[in-house]
Symmetry: C2
Subunit: 274 residues, 2 copies
């Protein structure tokens, strides 16, 4: 079954070139490996309006999953939950389970650093536990702010923190099993061939032939612009159910492509199972 | 003047976790330094429908600039120009200037690699020179496929190749001067303070105070999750005209923030002009 997933990364730091986003890459790689179809990544600024409208736009495309990253913390610029509340027209309310989690994390922080106990539930702390109505608290095994799950209009949306280790921990613990279940026995395979001495424009009709002869196999050419390296990487991928033996299909297509390339004067430098 | 810019990165390889996007980061960083407001990054798959709809969505938000990366090459999956043609409802036609460029690049490739001359204008080569009507060819000082400029509905859209060195060369040669001109004397400044022994939730009200006392200064806290490093980076930014002396405003705000943090028991480890 085709399982679409969209990623929304929230934070000005990603749009001013301060932080190189690694979260979208991580989620895209993991979700693809699990057999999901990552349809789109949207990176937006820290405003309630941007968060709300990009969530609404994603929901309208009806993916099975949306994962947002960032904006769950205690400071004024952490507006993800407000944006989600606006998108789904739900009120925000203090969630007692989330509040207990935040309280425990504050105590742990102070204890670890031998500071006086941080027990006061100040407004910024309560903010981290103020969730849209009818949402579910998701365990954050590492950081203070819990993740959030919202089910709406056939889509499951997860709001995860932006700190990569926290995001990854929640993704693996909570989202991975759900994607696996949704995907069933569909799997993703990839294979690379590195070639030289042949232009991409000459490879184009060979790629067309291989794709028309090998149903389900997708071939992309990637020019490589480093000295002393092969000129082009041909990346073959397939997403299919296990019964269709996707790995075997891919190897067959790769072999056929290599033969065509050499017959046309190109040099196949290396072939790699990925 | 506020100059909005959007980035659309096109390519399945970015959504399956094969390639870590660096283009959006590069453009975002450069454009911000020049004083532009990078509003959104959208990463999409290689389909005409996705390209067309994401261009239309961006155009509807009325940014001054849109930069797309990827999908200008000769292979079947290079669909950017078809997507743009669909978005603006323009026909595709062979552009004689672009065709001449592609021809020259093919000759150079063969000469450099001592191959027999590549003079035949095969369909994949003609494809790279087949542009939507009423578009302008943009010089690509490095690769084969030229860039494209489209002016529509008050927005200037540039379609650049996905290979980073080619994209960067065109960006610097063609787009940078245009952004500079549009931005006028607006400039972007940033400053960082690294702090320890104080939770983000405790920093929140201090950040609020600094932002309300220092008009135009934006402060974001970034938790750092590495051992033996300060716990939080506070990143101060401002975008303002030169006459407003943004750098001085920023230093003043940073100093005030550092004083508040130390008064609240936090440790300021380092302050850095960026």
């Amino acid at each position: 079954m085709i399982v679409d997933l969209e990623i929304i990364c929230i934070g000005n730091e990603l749009l001013i070139g301060k932080v190189k986003d690694t979260n979208a890459y991580y989620i895209a790689k993991q979700a693809t490996k699990l057999g999901a179809n990552v349809k789109r990544v949207t990176v937006i600024q820290d405003t309630i309006q941007e968060i709300s409208s990009s969530v609404c736009e994603a929901i309208a495309r009806k993916p099975q999953f949306i994962v947002t990253t960032g904006g769950l913390g205690p400071t004024f610029d952490d507006k993800t939950l407000q944006g989600i509340a606006k998108a789904f027209n739900r009120k925000l309310e203090v969630n007692s389970k989330a509040l207990e989690i935040v309280k425990q994390k504050c105590l742990e922080y102070a204890k670890k650093r031998q500071l006086s106990p941080e027990i006061e539930m100040t407004p910024p702390r309560v903010k981290m536990a103020t969730l849209p109505q009818k949402t579910e608290v998701v365990n954050n095994p590492i950081g203070t702010a819990p993740g959030v799950r919202v089910d709406a209009q056939g889509t499951v949306l997860f709001a995860l923190p932006g700190v990569p280790v926290e995001m990854e921990a929640i993704f693996n613990e909570t989202i991975t099993p759900l994607i696996k279940q949704a995907v069933g026995n569909s799997m993703f395979c990839e294979w690379s061939i590195f070639v030289d001495n042949i232009m991409e424009s000459r490879l184009a009709p060979l790629i067309d032939k291989i794709m028309s002869d090998n149903d389900g196999v997708y071939v992309k050419s990637h020019p490589i612009r480093s000295e002393n390296k092969p000129h082009v990487e041909l990346h073959l991928t397939i997403m299919a159910s296990q019964e269709q033996k996707p790995a075997e299909k891919l190897v067959k297509a790769a072999k056929e492509l290599a033969i065509l390339i050499e017959a046309d004067g190109g040099s196949v430098i290396e072939a790699l199972d990925r």
